[in-house]
Amino acid sequence: MDSPFATAFSLIASGDAALMQIIGLSLRVTLTAVLVACAVGLPLGAALALAAFPGRGAVIVAFNALMGLPPVVAGLVVYLLLSRSGPFGSLALLFTPTAMILAQTLLILPIVVSLTRSVVEDLWAEYREQLRSLGASRLRAAPTLLWDGRVSLLTGVLAGFGRASAEVGAVLIVGGNIAGHTRTMTTAITLETSRGELGLAVALGIILMALTLALNAAAWGAGQWARERLG
């Protein structure tokens, strides 16, 4: 029997169709989840930083705590919502990529919200008087602060991407690891390893790590560039 590494490299080198399909789906699910989480989380985090309302502290603590939400629990929640007897059962979304996107969005959202809140709050402390003096209301200040915090916010978005691309519990529960349909890199590694098919598992592992490395390198580079260019 070939070593799993030899198999892995030949799979990658030959651009194996099943392998490419799994990578494509993983990226589609995770990137979509990151986009949705940012679309909701950036304004929500900014609002949480700038608004004063009763119970604000509790909401902040809740979002901080949710950053540690176990992926299997997120999966379970989405499963309960989407299962046939659940409130959204009629949409028949369970075991589809959409369900996986939902579950991963749930995992990423608290990270984006909490980090945005903290970045915007710090900037607001520095900018508050100046922006008020220039004539900006709190509402108008929010997009300004988000834009000025863009370098720091990128780190949070990346952490969210890392969390979603690495997790297996949520996508396994709501996706079901159906070959060619809902099988992602992490669920495939779990399955192939348990079946003793280490070649594909190692190939996916290598690609997953390379991807994470490349993304972090890009984010670091962007941060350095921005610091030099923008101050």
Binding site: E129, Q130, R132, S133, L134, A136, L230, G231
Partner: protein
């Protein structure tokens, strides 16, 4: 274009004089400013002086409308609660993480100035203050002197009738200080009312037409600068001018 702008400016309500009537400011029952009554007249250069902690910065923030008096009344001639046609320059100006030109455009956009007029105003402001070569540079990477020059230019572009400056030169070297002072004098020549705090006596002598002297949150002297520097009425002001530490 210019004529239209000037017309618009003339049509704007006159916000000065600004009258403070028995104004006080307290935080958690702790009074920091008390019983301030004075009138800030149009077209004058008023230097607000006093020792550290006398309440100079609070006084400026209160006039500008960043904080609200907890006692007494602040009355703009235009009747507005917070006059529109005013601006403030801080000791450490906050510049946005974008280009010099974009920093100038930002408050104009907040005021609702349309795109073409805004670009025109930004271009004229860059030219007028010699900032054109820096237009595309990130504002945060400018030197301290350049940053304060940009902050003053940004305030000027807003066409304020009253400009408040809080120790605008305290973090600058002598040559940058002179540049900023020349800008302030230029603004005054155009008819802008200047209200500025400084702890630099030389600077106060160079720029002041009127002086307000604060001591422990109270206004204890207010009047023409010549008289104040020639013969201050209170022992606190005399001690301050003599360079003594007063408490």
């Amino acid at each position: 274009m210019m004529a239209a702008r000037d017309l618009a400016r003339d049509a704007a309500p006159q916000i000065l004089p600004l009258r403070l009537e028995g104004v006080g400011y307290a935080v958690r029952g702790q009074p920091l400013l008390h019983g301030l009554s004075l009138t800030i007249r149009s077209g004058r250069r008023l230097m607000v002086m006093g020792a550290n902690g006398a309440g100079k910065s609070l006084f400026l923030r209160l006039c500008h409308g960043l904080i609200e008096p907890t006692a007494g009344r602040r009355l703009w001639a235009s009747g507005e609660a917070r006059a529109e046609a005013q601006a403030m320059v801080f000791q450490r100006p906050v510049l946005l993480r974008r280009s010099v030109a974009a920093n100038l455009a930002y408050p104009l956009a907040l005021k609702g100035m349309a795109g073409p007029e805004r670009r025109d105003t930004v271009a004229r402001t860059l030219d007028r203050f010699g900032l054109a070569p820096l237009a595309d540079r990130p504002a945060r990477l400018l030197s301290g002197g350049e940053q304060q020059r940009l902050a003053l230019a940004r305030a000027w572009a807003m066409r304020p009738q009253a400009l408040f400056l809080d120790e605008p030169c305290s973090a600058l070297d002598p040559s940058a200080t002179l540049t900023i002072e020349a800008m302030i004098e230029g603004f005054a020549t155009e008819g802008m009312t200047i209200v500025m705090t400084t702890h630099d006596l030389g600077q106060a002598r160079r720029l002041a037409e009127d002086v307000a002297f604060l001591h422990r949150g109270r206004l204890i002297e207010h009047g023409p600068a010549d008289a104040f520097f020639a013969g201050p009425e209170t022992p606190e002001a005399r001690a301050f001018l003599a360079g003594d530490l007063i408490w």
